[in-house]
């Protein structure tokens, strides 16, 4: 790894990392603070939910979930956190290399005396550090929010920790898949649509899987591999599905290195 590239990449991304972290933390706190009013009127709430169409509940991942419990409610909340984290990680993945080519700075960087493997490693590491900052912030505020707003209700800590840790491979999935796609296409004009498409696309896929009862779709999307309710209810990861994610990450990262070292950097015409 080249420390100067790492520092440069990290600094360029820092503002985005802070923005995303603040947004996710705000989400956790706002939703979290509503918990006690939800739970206090559990009966009313469950009655209301019984009247909702089943498909809607499925779409929000709250079918068969008791929102009056600490972890039931946190799982519901965490789905939105996952969507944010997915888009953030996909965004970093898609932009990691493509931003240099879109803004034509690749000529500058690649004509310096560093090999492409080192460049990619430095860039990946900088992105990982950015995601790690978001993770730490998410972890701290999650634990804080749960502790603060649970009132006198009890919950198990292990499933919660398992869920919180699961965001690491969850982000890696979107980071690496975004990266490898960006290297497979000739040029990415704008990162945001790609990142939104991958992030939301995977979420929609998991919802469709639920609605249709289709299990092949589930295998594709990390929203299923790391489904909050599953982890919180079973107190364990769905290991075969998690391994699919891990396999995808490994393939995507190896593929990215192979593609990047052989890539022709486009020139201004």
């Amino acid at each position: 790894m080249a420390t100067n590239i790492f520092r440069q990449e990290f600094n360029m991304r820092l503002r985005s990392v802070i923005t995303w972290s603040v947004a996710v933390v705000a989400l956790i706190w706002i939703y979290g603070s509503l918990f006690s009013s939800f739970a206090d009127q559990a009966e009313l709430l469950n009655e209301m939910m019984a009247n909702f169409p089943e498909q809607l509940l499925t779409a929000f991942g709250i079918k068969d979930v008791n929102l009056a419990t600490v972890l039931g409610y946190f799982g519901f909340l965490f789905l939105f956190v996952q969507i944010c984290l997915a888009i953030q990680a996909a965004n970093y993945g898609f932009s990691l290399v493509s931003v240099e080519e879109r803004e034509w700075t690749a000529d500058f960087l690649l004509s310096k005396p560093v090999g492409r493997t080192r460049i990619l490693t430095s860039k990946l590491f900088a992105a990982l550090c950015g995601l790690a900052i978001t993770d730490i912030v998410v972890w701290i505020s999650s634990v804080a929010v749960v502790t603060l707003f649970k009132g006198d209700r009890t919950y198990e800590i292990k499933p919660l920790l398992l869920l919180l840790v699961s965001i690491v491979p969850f982000q890696l999935f979107f980071l690496s898949v975004g990266l490898v796609i960006s290297l497979l296409v000739k040029r990415i004009r704008s990162v945001t649509p790609y990142a939104m498409a991958l992030g939301f696309g995977m979420y929609v896929l998991s919802v469709f899987g639920d609605l249709l009862g289709e299990s092949t779709l589930e295998k594709l999307t990390p929203f299923k591999h790391f489904e909050p309710n599953y982890i919180l209810q079973k107190g364990a990861w769905d290991l075969p599905l998690v391994l699919i994610s891990v396999a995808v990450i490994v393939i995507a990262v190896v593929g990215s290195y192979l593609l990047y070292t052989r890539r022709d950097i486009p020139a201004v015409v």
């Binding site: 100067n4 803004e103 700075t105 000529d107 005396p113 560093v114 022709d264 950097i265 201004v268």
Partner: protein, 290 residues
Amino acid sequence: MSVIEVNHLTKYYGKARGIIDLSFQVEEGEIFGFIGPNGAGKSTTIRLLLSLIHPTSGSATIFGKDCIQYGPQLRREIGYLPSEVFYYDRMKVIDLLTYSASFYPQDSTLRMHELAEVMELEMNRRIEDLSYGNRKKVGIVQGLLHRPKLLFLDEPTAGLDPLMQRKTFQLIREENQRGVTVFFSSHILGEVQRMCNRVAIIREGRIVEIADIRTLQQNNYKKVRVDAANLDAAYFDMPGVTNLEQHDGAVRFFYKGDINAVMHKIGQIAVSDVTIEEPTLEEIFMHYYE
């Protein structure tokens, strides 16, 4: 030893032509001109040598080493000024230059400030606020600050005002006098003519001629202009004469061959004025493009 050695280098972008079967050598300490119109393959060649892109076939060595395999190591001694200069917009000039310098083992701070002063560069401006010409200046400083032994200049003066062009040429000459080999790509013939020892003419991806700049001018054509009363252009219609034209009582043409034949012809008539001069590269160049 040749600093650059290119062997049958070919690059296709899919089906689109980049360059075809290019072979040439650049010797140590020379300023090698690389000239051709836009789209001829000049940038493609430079980008291949910097291993920004990979050849379809053929190979190239720099300082005797394969330019892809030893790319990172070779680039320590290479300075590159791209034709279009783009940098991380949000950075300040000084930050970008410091970042650039951080890639090289030696301390380049002094040289960086020296160059910035010559180019009258404002170090504390943000790059996004700079005009095209000022970005180009950043590019020049960035390409030279680590004291490279080989310089790739891709249309170095485009966008610079005449004063800055002159300063740039001055800098390049000074570098060259220190022993730096310069690969100078341009479509402006005048500047190649002024700067280079040898020149390769590239057209539609192929090299049509590599020649010493003097031989190119001398061995080829003379530009002749004869002023005389009642002169008919047809009088000079002889072997070796081309582009014969008559204009305001003057006859102009290019001549290639024994100069005595023309002198003899001119001597037989009463002329009011005669000029015989070297054609500019521009004029020679047009010949290759017809």
